[in-house]
């Protein structure tokens, strides 16, 4: 069995070719409910992938596994070359700095202004003040918030808050951007704007994985779509579509 897996992995060429490499990944919650069963998923560097499915399908669990917030019960998970099954607790921060993460509820630091929220990610990455002063304004320009750098999150609209979250996720130039329902709290206009931004980011070389159950969004974008149902991948299609069963 192990030999077969090894051969399969070799056949998939080098793991470092992939931003995400999941092999037979399963996760069951402590109450015995299976969340994911034998997931196999490979995302190459530079890809744009939607992960879709109804509520409770296992999308959020998958994101948590990719963030190493949860550890899988079995299988292999490699993200940006880090083996998440064997990674030590002390190495997790270093791994996470290779990622950018965006959430549905933005998760900004409420007591800090836009500039400080973005600069915070740079501080964690131990960047110098000079680098921070250079990088943060250019990132805020990219997301169209250069003029609002002094504003606190509560003074911003939902779409603007998500842009700040995007700027924060991207300022350290991550190889992979994970977006968990990034447009879930946004109107149609802001949804389109955010998706446009994600496309731009992807065109600049960052791998983008968007978890969503917004079928219109997915069908408009014509990207690779991985569908999860009851903890299993039921389809994986280039230029795929999605029909929301919710």
């Amino acid at each position: 069995m192990a030999e077969t897996k090894r051969k399969r992995r070799e056949a998939d060429s080098n793991i470092s070719d992939y931003a995400i490499y999941l092999e037979d990944v399963s996760k069951t919650f402590s109450d015995g409910v299976p969340a994911l069963s034998n997931i196999n998923l490979k995302v190459k560097h530079g890809e744009f992938v939607f992960i879709v499915g109804v509520s409770g399908a296992g999308k959020s669990t998958l994101i948590k596994l990719l963030l190493r917030e949860l550890k899988a019960d079995s299988g292999n998970i490699f993200v940006n070359g880090f083996n998440l099954m064997t990674i030590k607790h002390g190495r997790i921060p270093k791994f996470r700095r290779t990622l950018g993460v965006v959430f549905q509820d933005f998760r900004l630091l409420k007591d800090r202004n836009v500039y400080e929220n973005v600069a915070f990610a740079q501080r964690i990455a131990q960047k110098s003040e000079r680098e921070i002063r250079r990088n943060v304004p250019s990132m805020l320009s990219l997301v169209g918030l250069a003029g609002k750098y002094k504003a606190k999150p509560k003074q911003l609209a939902g779409g603007e808050q998500q842009r700040v979250a995007l700027a924060r996720a991207l300022v350290n130039q991550p190889k992979l951007l994970l977006a968990d329902e990034p447009t879930g709290n946004l109107d149609l206009y802001n949804t389109a704007e955010i998706m446009k931004l994600l496309e731009t980011i992807n065109e600049n070389g960052t791998t983008v994985v968007v978890v969503t159950h917004n079928d219109k969004l997915v069908n408009d974008m014509k990207k690779r779509v991985v569908t999860i149902k009851q903890g299993m991948i039921v389809s994986d299609a280039e230029n795929g579509g999605y029909f929301d069963e919710d």
Binding site: H89, G90, R97, Q126, R168
Partner: protein, 296 residues
């Protein structure tokens, strides 16, 4: 730790103190209350111990010699006494000195004596370094040749050593209770404060902050709060101690044994100890409470 991380920690710690005003006030109040009570007991215990120590210094054992003993032997006995570890000091009271002192008390009646009635009452007055060792010394002296009689006060020695023991037990008990209470209260207060900032910690962790980077500002903040919480009762106690000792000394001047230790003699130990405890409580309380939230 990089120098900018150090300054970031300090900056965020100080900001945190002012940002979470109610948390700060609640924690400072808790630490202050505990250390205030501790300080009161410490000051009382220090003074009682001082009174007991003064009383102990006046407890003596008196050694009388055999009749007709030579002066050389008396000197030898003195040397034997001086070598004992139980003895802090000793002095020879000659028969003449004993009579002179006694005749002062007798007044005019003393003139009726033509000879020294205390001829055989030359003695060594022995002061102990520790009253609990009185019986040990007496047992030894009873076996020394040339000693006729030993006067001692078992009651005084036992009472003083009893007070000493009670003081130790009460003080240790109070310290244990106070620390248990303060750790419990601090833990609750910090838990409340941290739960408000749980989201902040989670965000930091998602972005890739190390445990140290997340924890250090919280721990520094709590240590700062602990320091403030300790400094306030110390300042207050110092002022109140001066006030209280002046008042009691004035109103109860007739109680000659009631002598107070100067404030500085007490606070020179109490202040650094309390500040360390305040900082320590802040450190321990925050370190372990934050740790629970770091597993993200």
């Amino acid at each position: 730790m990089k120098i900018r991380t150090f300054f970031y920690t300090i900056e965020q710690g100080v900001i945190g103190v002012f940002k979470n005003k109610w948390f700060t006030v609640a924690t400072v109040a808790t630490i202050s209350a505990c250390l205030f009570v501790f300080g009161i007991f410490y000051a009382i215990a220090f003074n009682v111990a001082n009174i007991v120590r003064n009383a102990e210094q006046n407890v003596s054992v008196t050694v009388f010699f055999d009749e007709g003993i030579s002066e050389e032997r008396i000197e030898e006995i003195g040397e034997i006494i001086g070598r004992r570890s139980e003895v802090s000091r000793y002095e020879l009271i000659t028969a003449e000195e004993a009579w002179a002192k006694f005749s002062e008390q007798l007044g005019e009646y003393a003139q009726g004596f033509t000879e020294n009635p205390l001829e055989n009452c030359a003695n060594y007055q022995i002061y102990l370094s520790d009253v609990t060792m009185q019986s040990q010394l007496v047992n030894y002296l009873e076996g020394v040749e040339g000693i006729r009689k030993i006067n001692k006060s078992d009651f005084t020695a036992d009472t003083l050593s009893g007070i000493n023991m009670v003081l130790v037990y009460v003080f240790v008990g109070i310290i244990v209770i106070l620390f248990a209470v303060s750790i419990f209260l601090i833990n609750n207060t910090v838990t409340m404060g941290i739960s408000v900032r749980k989201e902040e910690i989670t965000i930091m962790k998602y972005i890739g902050a190390t445990d140290f980077f997340v924890r250090a500002p919280f721990v520094f903040e709590a240590m700062l709060i602990g320091l403030i919480g300790a400094a306030i009762p110390m300042g207050l106690l110092y002022y109140l101690y001066e006030l209280a000792t002046d008042f009691i000394s004035e109103k109860f001047a007739f109680l000659s044994f009631l002598t107070f230790v100067p404030a500085w003699d007490i606070f020179i130990y109490l202040i650094p100890f309390s500040l360390c405890i305040g900082v320590g409580i802040g450190f321990v309380g925050s370190f372990f409470t934050v740790r629970k939230h770091l597993r993200v």
